[in-house]
Amino acid sequence: MLAFKLAFKNLLGAGLRTWLNVSVLSFSFVVIVLYNGMLDGWNRQGRSDTIAWETGSGQYWHPLYDRYDPFSLQDAHVPVTGEAAELVSSHQLTPMLITQASAYPQGRMLNILLKGVDPSQKILMIPSGSLQVKNGEISAIIGKRMAESSHLKKGDRVLVRWRDVNGTFDAREILIAAVFNSNVPTVDANQIYIPLSSLQEMTGMLGDATLLVAADTHSGSAIKGWAYKDTKTLLKEFDEMINAKKGGSRIVYLMLLSLALLAIFDTQVLSIFRRQKEIGTYIALGMTRMQVVRLFTVEGSAHSLLALILGSLYGIPVMLFLQQKGIPMPKSADQAGVAIAEKIIPFYSLGMIVSTVLLVVISATIVSYFPTRRISKMKPADALKGKIQ
């Protein structure tokens, strides 16, 4: 306690030098927490959006299905029967049939995926309720990215061409019944959703599905003939992307932190050089050398505690403001291919804040300690004279 009391007194007495170091360190604090909060917020938002729009709470894939290989779609379909059919009828699973196709908006050709979904499904947020067949005309829904790239809008009709189960080409016109807005580009880009039964009929794959999307009430138990993919597997790429982002951000904030720590280290070295007489006086007054080492170490590391207080003073209002208003993302971020909202709401977890505080305090203590080891080698009589050692 004595070391803390004296350290804070010395630190505050040092004036501008202290506040310069504390300001730089507090800036590091705030930037680290803000940046991590933004990435964590993006992560949370992206994960929940992807689950809501695309993956559900897990999926059962046809064993041949590979989401990155369009050629696998040709054979990756099977009738939904038995246990799977029971789970579909109890609304724990919803089937989806996927096939490759071409669309011809305004005479141009676009390679697309035709996805057949059950219009009554409630598992995914896709507004499948708009999918109806009226007077023999198939209605379809597309996302805003698809609408932008294809220049299609609600009410337009577009020709689509596909191959049926036997490989025969067929084509017909479909009606764009709705354009939905999703933060998840992978449910949107180059994709057209039509009623499942229509796609099954068009392709001759009656009763077939490529995959089954699970509701959050589903336990994820194994179903014969289907390969279960849990959320962790389905979000693997997204998690890897966030981790890569975090890795990159770590370099930036470690550089920032290093600058602040270098300033503390420099201050410590200078302090010990300039304050030799003071060190000698402490020893003459009855402190042991180790007590003086502790005092100077605490003094250096106390920069981080003051930085925490200063950082809180201006950082907390900024963080709360951003949490309330969100961080607007540029429009081009939409094209990045990953789930990203128009505004990211930062998320500041207790764990992240505590680990940031510990990182800064421990680093500051370590860089404060190293220069003070010189004190333990000082001869008090020489220190009192202020002799350079």
Binding site: G13, K277, A284, L285, G286, M287, K379, A381
Partner: protein
């Protein structure tokens, strides 16, 4: 009347390594100091005054022989034991005052008591009493930079005396002061020496200091040249500060 012995210097020598050779600062010193003495170590620069004070104060170790201070052989003390000896039993007064610049006068004087882990109320009472001895109660909240040289040295005396040590070691306490302040400082110390029976040992070559000493040890080239007890030193009856 013989004063009880509190410091005994036995065959003490101190050598410093200087380049390839050794510099001998003290040679075979044998001295004893009694309780309540007001003694000066006198001699030219380099005669070993400060070195001897540092060894008595356990800030330095002898190369040969030993200094027995309040029953403790300085050369055998650990860092912790040395610190305890200084904290409880020895006060220091320096030529350049060595006050802690960011602390107030009160904080500076209080410092030794903080190390002794005394209670807040006890510290306050004792510090104010010490400031009263040196006439600086009205400057308790001032910082050293706001004080004159004489006032700084009085703070330094209060800091040395606040813990009521048996021994006070003063290294050229009047060297940075004008004549008037020098007299005041020495008179203050002399008064405290009389009232509290504290042993004062000075390193000095200031004539003004010498006239108050009741013992003068002359050092030359690290050796005791003369050890004289003064029959009729200047006596202080009243100190006006």
């Amino acid at each position: 009347m013989q004063k009880p012995e509190i410091i005994k210097i036995e065959n003490l020598s101190k050598k410093y390594h200087m380049g390839e050779g050794d510099f001998t600062a003290l040679r075979n010193i044998n001295l004893t100091f009694g309780k309540g003495e007001f003694t000066g170590l006198v001699g030219p620069s380099g005669s070993g005054k400060t070195t001897l004070l540092n060894i008595i104060g356990s800030l330095d170790n002898p190369s040969e022989g030993d200094a027995i201070v309040l029953g403790n052989a300085v050369s055998r003390l650990t860092h912790k034991q040395s610190a305890t000896l200084r904290n409880f039993h020895i006060g220091f007064i320096f030529q350049t005052y060595n006050l802690l610049p960011v602390y107030t006068v009160f904080d500076n004087v209080e410092f030794a008591l903080l190390l002794q882990k005394r209670t807040v109320s006890e510290r306050y009472k004792t510090v104010m009493e010490a400031l009263e001895w040196v006439g600086l109660t009205d400057k308790a909240k001032s910082k050293p930079a706001q004080l004159s040289g004489g006032e700084c040295q009085r703070v330094s005396i209060a800091r040395a005396m606040v813990k009521r040590p048996e021994i006070v070691l003063a290294d050229e306490p009047s060297a940075n002061l004008d004549a008037s302040n020098s007299h005041h400082i020495i008179q203050t110390m002399k008064k405290l020496n009389r009232e509290l029976n504290t042993t004062f040992i000075f390193a000095t070559h200031d004539e003004k200091v010498m006239q108050y000493l009741d013992r003068i040890i002359h050092l030359k080239d690290g050796m005791v040249e003369k050890d004289e007890f003064i029959q009729d030193p200047k006596i202080v009856s009243h100190v006006s500060i």
